[in-house]
């Protein structure tokens, strides 16, 4: 972290395709530092936040995220996370975090069997996290999704713990914030769209906030998640 800017390290796997969106959001919209991190180089280059971006790492072969999880840089990412470093996984990045065991559960095939690419509405569950501290519980955000495997699943014990610990940050909802089956685009249990780990430093979500940081892209709601993250560093430094 330089004097006033946070450094976002954006991991590039073979098949990542939202790496440039994340870079653009961090560097040009949020006015922070950003650098790409090639997956074969086990060096996080003093990043403050690691982003595992969306895409189709390794062609989604075997299972989404299953092979990327063993890329050389992932040992560094896991160590970084276990030491309290901030890691954000978006879409394929969320899938990789689950495969790596940094977040619980898995992302199954969408119940429709269709790849779903559209704007959805998600409800913010609470503001007691570094990813949502600039938001308010009940806020509705309009953010795009683009995935074929976004159907969040975990055993009942794990789901119970996520709910009890406040680890569910975002749920698919209708435009009024009602959690309904018709607003659930993929079949995720409890309409889960995004979760964090128990320690609160690793977050994964299927919707793409980095693609919703500017009004000309249809929504700037996603920026509020990054604003929260930046605010958490400012609070930490204060």
């Amino acid at each position: 972290m330089s004097a006033s800017k946070i450094k976002f390290g954006i991991v590039v796997f073979p098949g990542s395709n939202c790496d440039h969106d994340a870079y653009h959001a961090a560097k040009h919209v949020l006015n922070q530092d950003a650098e790409f991190l090639w997956h074969k180089e086990p060096d996080l280059k003093h990043s403050d936040v690691i982003i595992l971006p969306g895409g189709f790492s390794y062609g989604d072969y075997l299972r989404t995220g299953a092979i990327a999880r063993f890329s050389p840089i992932m040992n560094e990412v896991i160590t970084f996370a276990n030491n309290g470093g901030i890691v954000v996984g978006i879409c394929n990045g969320f899938q990789i975090l689950c495969e790596a065991g940094l977040l619980p559960g898995v992302l199954l095939r969408n119940r429709s069997l269709l790849f779903s690419s559209k704007h959805v509405t998600v409800r913010v569950e609470h503001s007691e996290s570094r990813f949502t501290n600039d938001l308010t519980a009940g806020d509705i955000m309009r953010i795009p999704i683009a995935h074929g495997e976004g159907n969040y699943f975990a055993d009942q014990e794990t789901i119970g713990a996520l709910e009890e610990n406040g680890q569910v940050l975002f749920r698919y909802s209708d435009e009024f914030g009602e959690i309904t089956d018709t607003s659930n685009p993929n079949g995720s249990l409890n309409n889960i769209a995004g979760i964090m780990n128990k320690a609160g430093n690793v977050m994964g979500m299927m919707p793409h906030p980095e693609r919703a940081c500017e009004n000309q892209l249809g929504s700037s709601d996603g920026k509020r998640i990054f604003d929260s993250l930046i605010k958490s560093f400012v609070l930490q430094a204060a």
Partner: protein
């Protein structure tokens, strides 16, 4: 050398939406007797191991560490000398 043939399927507690879609297709063909269609993966690999027990150990390790995700999948395998 040994050949492992691994079968990976979604755990019984998980709704297999692909299996359901295929089951519907089979029913459309008139075969109403067919039920419980589950889609899985079949993986074949050769293992250079000095014994069948060692080939089994390596196969299981590969399944547990990479080929199957125990949160959602079960695996089974057969091994033969080649």
């Amino acid at each position: 050398m040994y050949q492992s043939t691994i079968t990976i399927t979604l755990r019984p507690s998980i709704l297999d939406v692909q299996g359901k879609a295929v089951e519907l297709g089979i029913h459309t063909l008139g075969m109403k007797e067919v039920e419980n269609v589950r889609i899985g993966k079949s993986i074949q690999m050769t293992v250079n191991a000095p014994s069948e027990d060692e080939a089994k150990r390596i196969t299981e390790e590969a399944c547990k560490k990479l080929l199957a995700n125990s949160v959602m999948e079960d695996f089974s395998y057969t091994i033969k000398s080649v």
